[in-house]
Symmetry: C2
Subunit: 492 residues, 2 copies
């Protein structure tokens, strides 16, 4: 794309000035419309060093009230802490909330291209990264984000000229880094890598705009025009439905909830006590090992109200070092969470390598409560199966162990436990009116859960059913599965 990039003839100065005025006013008038439409706008600035990205961001934001934008400065290597998360993590943390702009002074492109240039990224990993980026950009668009991507282009000569000028003055010479000079030296090679990345990630919903950045005002005008055009289109399309992608992940065949036999899944107190001790001891040792091998572990619990998730989780955590794990109880999203991609609050709660995060309720809320209560559109939750598989695939490729438990009881057992909770003062806090209301929708939930399990039982992140009419049985089964999965991960 870069080599063949045909520069438009520069309009004359007067024309640029006039149009600039127009586009600036347009952007300024868009900010309230964006807010009203709850449109989140992500603007990615990538491109050659010294191409003037920062300066243009500075110009663009002058037209926007500080309440409606932030600049994310990520033009640096990830630090040690960030390296312990998936590479998308530090970018995902920064995605804007509905109704606001976020300008990225370099985003995921720069990290990838740097990696290729300094030889740290193999071809295989490069392909994987590009795939991840395409997936996440598409997901963001599908979930209502406007993603606008700019590549700031200057020639080798122009770059050289700018670096020389910066170096000449004492006040600016410190801004020129070794990497900048290296990039100029290896301009052609770097252009190839940029080019490859641009073609690899040029999606119709989030296309690249190459900005001729030789002349500042002209660059500003191009950016404003493309940005305004993008906003205009997005505002018009805002409530459009999105095609549901085919779910092409390798799925395991699973049965329906109604086929699960529960009555026979029991064990005696004696068996339980003995097993529990042995398994917890084993899990404790494995906890040490995965900590040292820096394997991240995600354990996701879903299940009927009163199925015994809490007690089950406790039997796992009792074996773990409290410095290595965290339990994340998931309730309805807070306003700042609801204003972002629905997976954002899970992206930001991921464990770092060597650590374990146990989710008590999860991102599957999207296809259960949000579906049934109408908290998202039908198009939203129908899309979510694939989006969730993509999310889990990303984590799995990162190296995470993902264990998903569905804690199963039957309708009568729930009634019994609800009644018991209601009648026991110390347990009353555990039961709310909402629980009773949800209970009335048992059948609808069962349909949704069957669909969910069928569509998201991937080979890399399968569901495990924990039969929990006898809670002891469910706890031992959970421990066994966690142990088995951690062992498998250690042997990989």
């Amino acid at each position: 794309m870069l080599k063949d990039f045909v520069k438009t003839d520069l309009p004359d100065e007067k024309e640029i000035s006039e149009k600039l005025k127009e586009e600036r006013a347009k952007l300024s008038s868009f900010q309230m419309k964006i807010k009203e439409a709850s449109l989140p706008v992500m603007v990615l600035f990538e491109g050659w060093n010294a191409a003037g990205k920062g300066a243009i961001i500075g110009k663009v934001i002058r037209n926007i009230d500080p309440r409606f934008f932030k600049v994310a400065t990520l033009d640096r290597e990830p630090n040690e802490e960030e390296k312990r998360y998936p590479f998308l993590y530090r970018y995902m943390k920064e995605i804007p909330e509905a109704g606001k702009f976020r300008f990225f002074d370099t985003c995921w492109m720069e990290e990838i291209v740097d990696g290729v240039m300094n030889g740290e990224l193999t071809d295989e990993v490069y392909e994987q990264r590009v795939h991840s980026i395409n997936v996440i950009e598409r997901q963001l668009c599908d979930n209502g984000y406007l993603v606008v991507k700019f590549f700031f282009n200057i020639s080798k000569k122009e770059q050289k000229k700018r670096l020389d000028a910066l170096q000449e003055s004492k006040d600016t010479s410190w801004r020129v880094q070794k990497e900048d000079l290296l990039q100029n030296k290896h301009y052609e090679k770097c252009q190839e890598v940029y080019d490859r990345y641009l073609s690899d990630t040029n999606q119709s919903r989030a296309p690249w705009y190459i900005i001729d950045a030789t002349e500042k005002k002209w660059a500003e005008l191009q950016v404003l025009q493309f940005l305004n055009q993008g906003i205009d289109t997005a505002l018009k399309n805002h409530s459009m439905n999105v095609p549901i992608l085919q779910n092409t992940f390798p799925l395991k065949k699973v049965g329906k909830l109604s086929d699960i036999s529960l009555a026979d899944k029991t064990m005696t107190d004696e068996e339980y006590e003995i097993e529990l001790k042995v398994l917890q001891k084993e899990l404790k040792d494995l906890n040490n090992k995965i900590y040292r091998k820096k394997i991240p572990v995600i354990i996701a619990y879903e299940g009927w109200d009163a199925a015994g998730k809490g007690g089950n989780i406790k039997r796992i955590t009792a074996a773990l070092d409290p410095r290595d794990y965290v339990v994340e109880p998931i309730a309805s999203p807070e306003p700042h969470e609801k204003a972002r991609h629905y997976l954002w609050r899970f992206w930001t709660r991921l464990p770092k390598t060597g650590h374990i995060t146990i989710f008590d309720r999860t991102w599957y809320g999207r296809v259960m409560v949000e579906r049934l209560e109408g908290f998202c559109s039908e198009n939203d939750w129908q899309r979510a199966y694939n989006e969730i598989n993509e999310f889990e695939k990303e984590l799995s490729d990162w190296g995470a162990v993902i264990i998903k438990f569905w804690v199963q009881i039957d309708n009568e057992t729930q009634l019994q436990r609800f009644t018991d909770r209601q009648n026991t003062p110390e347990k009353q806090w555990k039961i709310t009116d909402e629980d009773w209301r949800n209970r009335e929708k048992w059948d609808q939930y069962e349909t949704a859960i069957d669909e969910m399990i069928a569509k998201t039982s991937t080979e890399f992140a399968p569901w495990y059913i924990l039969e929990s009419v006898d809670k002891k049985y469910a706890r031992i089964k959970a421990l066994r599965i966690v142990i088995e999965q951690l062992k498998a991960a250690l042997n990989r």
Copy 2:
């Protein structure tokens, strides 16, 4: 404290077991009471390496539902990113929200003692740190936090024995670090430093509990007993008023708002345009310099509605590199913010060194809107003047430049601007019913603002009045003050 620490005789095993059962149940039953009382509970675990802090935390949390606690593992050196913030920052980020526990697996003590032991902390800095810690612990308590501090004590011999045992097994030898062995070697010296810190921070509201950690169950019992006792007391005291401390910070003499003359504070458009260019150019250069000298800058804007804060801020930011600054518009707190110390949302928004944060409305909301609307108690806002001075002193000692602007207009000017906003379609979003309601309380606000400015115009963080009936005048004045203050900081 440690040398003279008299161990209580160990109760016999049976007694310990019985009492443990009792105290565990007690803690368990407390969790809902804590939630109902919205009590935030901070439990600090400090002490000798290998004293078993982690293991006991593991035992304690077994009694609590994961919804109500988290463990913060901070037993490590601050990383490069964290070093660019005040030393309290990484701990403050982790304070619990109302109704929840947060267990700190080492908190600010360890960092200080390490610093002294390896010679990185001068006596002067040590004294400063201890002062900061005492201030923040008191502030937390005053604002309704329960702070419980445990020091895990073992003898030199016992520590040696444990480290040897860990080293003997392949599975655990990696847990023994060089620092652990060094600590044992220099046990006596380290005991002195621990001891000094313990006496220096032994406050009546947040006292130290020294735990004899030789025997595990006994250690657990002591921890549970002290913790439960603390919770019991806190629950009883929860709505108690707190003594208002004397404000002993060096204050500048300042006049009242009504004494400020506004009509004569004007400038022509021509003067303005010329000055603006010159000053923005100068500020741009200074931005570079403070970035390179790694000075953090905090600019706080308060002022009447429609006084022109937004436009004023824009004239500052127009001169700044968008990668180096952020504007933080402050609205009413979100639920997760309201659930914590009222300064938390500002602690977590501090600039890192070399960066600038501009607050559009600030922590002074506590003594204006929260005071007048009754969002906090009288005791709360009366205490806040001193707490805010302490907060700003901490930031100033860290090296931050703090510039506080009060943007002043008169009552008639506000009415004019409100009406103008109402009548101009593009400006209507800027005016809400709330603005009109606030306007009715002008006199009450004026009294509160006069008091605020009088009580918080410290020498290290004074207020500057921006006379803004002529917005041009106010903008130029703001630029001049920022420039002057940055220059002063660069010359320090």
